[in-house]
Symmetry: C2
Subunit: 232 residues, 2 copies
């Protein structure tokens, strides 16, 4: 179930996409939004936080909340803790599961996931499409002690939604490193690029809100389609 602020975020995002705020390139004040949605200031702030995190608006202290030119050079959008799923509410996202298996962790995984050599780990390799175009190769490792069950059907939609909605787990934070790499031949082929072409690479270690690490993933994005927004 969506929280109230999530619904408001979604509805604001819809209005932004439809061009409702294009004239000023700015959202209405908190006061106006509070009246409009009939909710508290705190709910409006949380809704705007969602939009800030997904890169569609940015805050300027003392001036308000401004729209970003999200689609101005053809890239598909930004990425947040939940990966692609949460960001492209107007886009169609599909995942093809290329591999799903249970493995035992090597030293690198043991250190990333803070698990033991005896832990069972779900290995999931997915190819992710936005509006029919393959744009991401994702390899994820889930600690089975925390995510006790996965199947192809779950992996074809959002694993994070399943964790939250079905397993009732609280996803806390992602420890993330963004870099560039060269694509291997077999990787390049499946996202329609050439061997040695760049990819935007994101490594995540994701923890529950109690700090327990449950997921290590490596995402490789088509560099022509995906950019990251960031505000400092």
């Amino acid at each position: 179930m969506q929280a109230k602020y999530e619904k408001i975020a979604e509805s604001l995002r819809g209005e932004i996409i439809e061009g409702k705020y294009n004239k000023d390139k700015k959202l209405p004040t908190e006061e106006i939004l509070m009246k409009y949605f009939d909710v508290s200031r705190n709910t409006i702030r949380k809704a705007v936080d969602v939009l800030v995190n997904s890169g569609c608006v940015y805050r300027v202290q003392g001036s308000g909340v401004f729209l970003r030119d999200v689609h101005d050079d053809g890239f598909v959008g930004s990425i947040n803790i939940a990966g692609l799923t949460k960001n492209f509410s107007r886009d169609e996202i599909k995942s093809k599961v290329m591999e799903l298996s249970i493995i035992t962790p090597d030293d690198n995984l043991i250190s990333k996931l803070e698990c033991t050599a005896e832990s069972k780990i779900y290995y999931v390799k997915r190819l992710r499409y936005v509006n029919g175009e393959p744009i991401e190769i994702e390899e994820s490792y889930y600690n089975k002690d925390i995510v006790p069950y996965l199947n192809r059907e779950i992996c074809e939609s959002s694993i994070f939604n399943y964790m939250r909605d079905d397993l009732k787990l609280n996803i806390g934070f992602a420890n993330r490193i963004v870099s560039c790499d060269k694509l291997e031949k077999f990787e390049a082929e499946i996202i329609n690029l050439n061997e040695g072409d760049p990819c935007l690479k994101i490594e995540n270690v994701v923890a529950l809100s109690n700090g327990k690490k449950f997921d290590y993933s490596i995402e490789k994005y088509n560099y022509l389609k995906v950019k990251l927004y960031n505000i400092t």
Copy 2:
């Protein structure tokens, strides 16, 4: 002049690098740090914010502030609003000015900097070295209405420090896009890579705290040396 919290951040960073907190990979509690540095909770929080933003620690709600494995695979660190300068307090950063000129803006610059066709713009191209190694090519465009004077000497050190310390300007926020690109032949040569190799590309539009945009820059980093840290 450095603020108190900046000095504390620097001293904590030094202790982290020296390995003082390696056992727990965690900073002491706020209470302990308040006593140790004899300052308020607010000052400690601001100091820790600096370290969080520069990617050397991360906060876990309810658990504390944890150290990141910053140097674990040979990359030089993270990047914040002020670019390289602020991040590598233990590293030696040098800039070679490759070009410094005054230009009139094209349509793209007029839109990025929200200036007019009559505005004068400083164009600065720099090659930046960390510990003697060339790792970044940076092209920056400064609106001369806001940054009235630049010379080679200023550009060889930190332009942001000059703006803050000498011009007394308040730097507000950076609107930033991270992506990947291929290096052109002449770019690759100066950072010791090959034509077509990937680079980590960061485009920034930087504004004063009053919202006035003064700088548009394109930074290209050696993809083997630089990664970005990010917490969501």
